[in-house]
Structure formats: C-alpha cells, structure tokens
C-alpha cells in the first residue's frame, strides 16, 4: 500500500496573528511554524497503515522552502520520503489552485491512498483534500475518525453532526482526518537523525508540468480584498455580589432580562 500524505506548514495555533501592511496578508516575521495539526493525524495514520499493510509513506507539500521543516518532521516521525513543490508562481493562490498543483505532482508519485488534514488551521478552507480527489478523479471521504482496510477496500468512519457513518470505497481513494483518529507519535531523536538522510525532492511547476497561469494569484477565482480583526467586544462587565448566591442571581437576572439568552 503506497500512501501519500498532504502536509502544510502553518503558524502555531497559540500564535498572535497580525495583519501586514498590505492588509491582505499576515505578518510572518515572528511566527513559530508547525505541521498543521490535522496533517499530523494523517502522517500517524499513514505510518500505522504501513505497519500492517507494508508499502511506503510519501509526504507531499507545497510552500516556501521553509516548509521542508514540516516535511522533515513527518520524516522524523517515520515517513519514507518527501516532495516539496516550491515555486514563486504558486504564491497568493487560493485553495483550488493549491489542489491543482498537488494533483499535478501526484501524477508522478505512485499512490493507493492519499490522506489529508480536513483543513489547514491557517486558511480554514476545508477544500484542498476534496479538490485534489476531484482533480485526480478518485473518491473521497471526509472527517474520518477510524479506518479499516480489507479485500482491496477501505472502510472509513466519518463523523457528522450527531453521529457517525461508515463509508466504504475501493482504492485509489482519499480521506481527510478528524481529531480522534489517533494520537500522533513524537519524533524520536534517532528518528530526527535518520530523517536528515531521507530523500526530500524540491520541485518547481515546470518539473511537474503544470501551466503557471492556472495557479497562484493569476489562477485564483477567490481573492482576499482585506483582512480585518473581529470587532472588539465591549469591556467585560464583572458581576458583583456579596456571596456566590448573589453573584449567580445577578448573572441570571441579566441573562434573562437584559440579554434574553435564557
């Protein structure tokens, strides 16, 4: 079973986000970068599949050269090799253009299964996995918390509001991860040492044979006009009272009478 994991490097979720001077991007100078948390679940699941099914785990990412750090982390967890598509023409592209680039790269990487995070926690687009599956013409299953492989098929437990559904599909296929799928392993020190020697190819758009006009800013159908901070709430109103009972009564009075929320 050859598994490809789609990975994105994103700002740490504990980061403060600041809007850049151009008002359409964020300041990246002081940010700490990590593997997208949902992609970590994807790497872990791929490694577990390799343990039972054999085969290879390849990490595929698109981004600046710095994104090799995220790929190296996945290699240190145990993946076999990595590919980064690094080309200035991809900059400023929307989710569908990213998917076009990844799908083009996947034409040259053998796969039976592709695993992606349900979303990257920076753009929060929830689009790349689905769109890659569409461009490759393969089935997709989103938000998976458990999978089983047998008889040339994969059976995935997909969550929805208030339940789960078990969906089956033949290979090749793509699924996206949901929290609860597994507990990603930490990279061990020997793993980190080994990762330094594992193959990591950096490719351009020309290398994967995709027309730069359909990707990046030029190829994007959606365009960010401005970024804004959510409007600040008014300063907190602290509820006073001599006792817990009095505070509670005052709070309930406000929530019922003034806010009409209960």
């Amino acid at each position: 079973m050859d598994v490809v994991v789609l990975v994105k490097q994103v700002p740490d979720t504990e980061s403060l986000i600041q809007i850049a001077e151009d008002s359409v991007s964020i300041k990246t100078g002081d940010l700490k970068w990590i593997i997208n948390p949902y992609d970590e679940f994807a790497v872990e699941e791929a490694l577990q599949i390799r343990e039972t099914q054999g085969g290879t785990v390849t990490i595929l990412s698109m981004g600046p050269e710095k994104a090799t750090e995220a790929i190296r982390t996945a290699l240190a967890m145990g993946a076999d090799s990595g590919v980064l598509i690094n080309d200035p023409m991809t900059a400023g592209g929307d989710a569908l253009t990213t998917a076009k680039v990844l799908a083009a790269a996947l034409k040259e990487i053998p796969y039976d299964l592709i695993i992606a995070g349900q979303r990257a926690v920076d753009g929060d687009n929830y689009q790349v996995g689905s769109a890659v599956a569409e461009y490759l013409g393969i089935p997709q299953i989103s938000l998976v918390i458990k999978e089983e492989i047998f008889n040339g098929k994969i059976r995935c437990h997909r969550v929805f509001e208030g339940g789960t559904v078990v969906v089956e599909t033949p290979f090749p296929a793509l699924f996206t991860t949901q929290r609860g799928l597994n507990e990603p392993r930490y990279a061990s020190l020997p793993g980190i040492m080994k990762a330094k020697k594992k193959p990591l190819d950096i490719k351009t758009l020309a290398d994967i044979g995709i027309d730069p006009a359909i990707v990046g800013k030029a190829g994007s159908k959606t365009k960010i006009k401005t970024l804004n901070f959510p409007s600040e709430r008014q300063a907190v109103r602290m509820i006073d009272g001599e006792s817990g009972a009095e505070k509670a009564a005052n709070l309930v009075k406000i929530l019922h009478g003034e806010i009409k929320a209960i």
């Binding site: 504990e14 929307d94 687009n125 299953i141 509001e161 559904v165 929290r179 804004n228 602290m238």
Partner: protein
C-alpha cells in the same frame, strides 16, 4: 448569462437541518438584492412531500431530486446530481450550508465546476464591485473580505450565524430526472448518537468546561441539561481524557457561534478563544480574576465554579 440564486438544502431522513432554513432565507435576501429569482434544491430519497416545508422561506422554484441513489449522502452521487441541476439552471450564486456534509460537498462541487468557493462565510454584502463574502481565518483571529471572480460563485455559510426569515412565495415544484452516475463510495452503516445530545455547532447555548473542572463535569452537565444546551470543553480537558474529542471547542476543534457561551474554569488560551469568539454573548466563570478569558467575555464572574454553578441553577429554577 448566468443568473439566479441556487440554494442546496440539507435533509436527514426526511427532516430538514436547520441550516437549510438559514441558507434559503439568506438566498432570498440576496436574490432580492441582485433583483433575481431563487431556486432551492432538495436531494434525497422518498422526499416528495418535503417541498412544502421550505416554501415559506421564499424560493420561487423548488427542485426535488428524488432517487434511491440519494438516500444517504455520498460525495460522488450528490456532486454528480447537483452538477447536472446547476448546469441546467446556470445560476450566478450557489449557497450551501457549511455543515460537515456541506463542506465536503461544496469543495468537490467547486473543483468540478471550476468555480470559486468561499467556505464558512459569516456575512455577505453587496458593493459596487459585486458581492463581498466575509469569512474567518486562523480560527477566527482574522476576518477576510473575499471576492469571487466568474460564475457561478459558491458560498458555504457557517451554521447558526445567518437569520431565518419567513417570506412565503407561491413556488413551483419541479421533479427533474436524476442520473446518479458513477458512484464509488457506499454507506455501509449509519449510527445516530442516542439521547438528545445537542450538536455543538448547532446549539443555541453552550456550557463549556476546562481545566478548572478538575475533570468533574457534573455541574456543567446539570446546567447544560437545564438550559437545553450542548456541553463543550477546552483542549486541556480533552487532552486529560475528561471529555471526548467531539466536545472540543477551539481552533483545532469545533468552531461555534451560539447565542450564549458559558465558559467555566477555562483560562482562555488563544486557540480556544478563536473557536468561540463569534458567540453572541460570552459569560466567563473563573477563580482567577486575571484569566485571559475575561478579556473576551461580555460578562464575568469570579469564583469557584463548583459553588457558583449550583447557585446559577438555583437562580434559574427560581425565575418566574
């Protein structure tokens, strides 16, 4: 030329999800702004009688795609059928609810139609340059105003944000012929959670607990049951194994926007605040008056949650 607004509704086992009413109501508002007509599509099996329930939200035309191959949601079948309906209707704008199903479907559909998609939109406004779609990024730390080039434009709207408005119209109901096409995925089993557990992303009220509970969610569950609320939790409560993953609110969990969010014993890590900051009213209960949660709350109470919450329950029960 592409024209009209096309809403994809969502039903489960013959009952519309609330997001369907939000999507059709928003569709009506935008169709009026754009001076055009509104079509609502219902997909499923044995759904012939469902069109009546959606009429009062203002669609002029209702398409009922009724086929045994649509009885359970699969990405491939629903994308195939919707693509046919959309190509036939040629709308300028498509609205889908950004539920778990709608997120999966809208992304596949956008790639198939080569159309721009704005995911998890919280506001849509008309400007001289066309529609501008507002959506949270970085878990809600930033809001992006986004434009979409070309048609159709696709927008997936965040559940629980847009208003439900009744605008009854005398709608025509069509039952188009349905070709499910090639379908590789099949639904093997469906498990609905028993009991009346309320889904976090659809809840009007959420009572959430964090590290301050020490793992004891009993008072939080009591308050939640009394208010008909959903129980949420911070990441630390999930990491401690106190609550299931499905309860986690935050940038790496669920993003919620209830009318009332009551955070109990949650200090307010940035990634948690990002997941609940669009709540309409936020109440924080915490022992530590310096806890960051108070900077994002509308109302704050300092004190021990195990003392305060039972008092709150008592006060609610005493309400006349």
């Amino acid at each position: 030329m592409a024209q009209g607004v096309f809403v994809v509704t969502e039903q489960r086992d013959g009952t519309f999800r609330k997001i369907s009413y939000e999507a059709v109501s928003e569709g009506r508002r935008l169709a009026d702004l754009l001076n055009t007509n509104l079509t609502a599509a219902i997909l499923g099996a044995d759904i012939a009688t469902m069109s009546g329930e959606i009429k009062k939200y203002g669609a002029e035309k209702i398409l009922v795609a009724d086929d045994s191959g649509l009885s359970e949601y699969t990405t491939d079948a629903y994308t195939n059928v919707l693509t046919d309906l959309i190509e036939e209707q040629d709308p300028e704008l498509i609205i889908i609810g950004a539920s778990t199903q709608g997120k999966d479907l809208s992304a596949r559909l956008a790639a198939r139609l080569d159309a721009g998609l704005v995911m998890d939109c919280v506001a849509i406004k008309q400007t001289d340059g066309g529609l501008v779609f507002t959506r949270p990024m970085f878990g809600g730390k930033v809001l992006a105003d986004v434009e979409i080039a070309g048609t159709p434009q696709i927008v997936a709207i965040r559940p629980n944000v847009m208003s439900i408005v009744e605008t009854p119209k005398s709608a025509t109901v069509d039952r188009p012929s349905v070709k499910v096409g090639e379908v590789k995925t099949s639904v093997f089993e469906k498990k609905i959670e028993t009991g009346d557990k309320i889904e976090l992303t659809e809840a009007d009220i959420i009572v959430s607990g964090g590290r301050g509970t020490g793992g004891d969610f009993s008072v939080i569950e009591d308050l939640s049951a009394l208010l008909g609320a959903a129980v949420g939790s911070s990441r630390s409560a999930v990491d401690e194994g106190w609550r299931p993953h499905s309860d986690q609110v935050g940038q790496t969990g669920k993003v919620v926007s209830p009318n009332l969010y009551i955070a109990c014993g949650i200090s307010g890590a940035i990634q948690h605040l990002a997941g609940m900051s669009t709540s309409k009213c936020i109440v924080a209960i915490n022992k530590d008056p310096e806890a960051p949660i108070f900077s994002k709350a509308d109302f704050g109470v300092t004190g021990d949650l195990f003392e305060l919450i039972p008092e709150i329950i008592k006060a609610i029960k005493n309400m006349t």
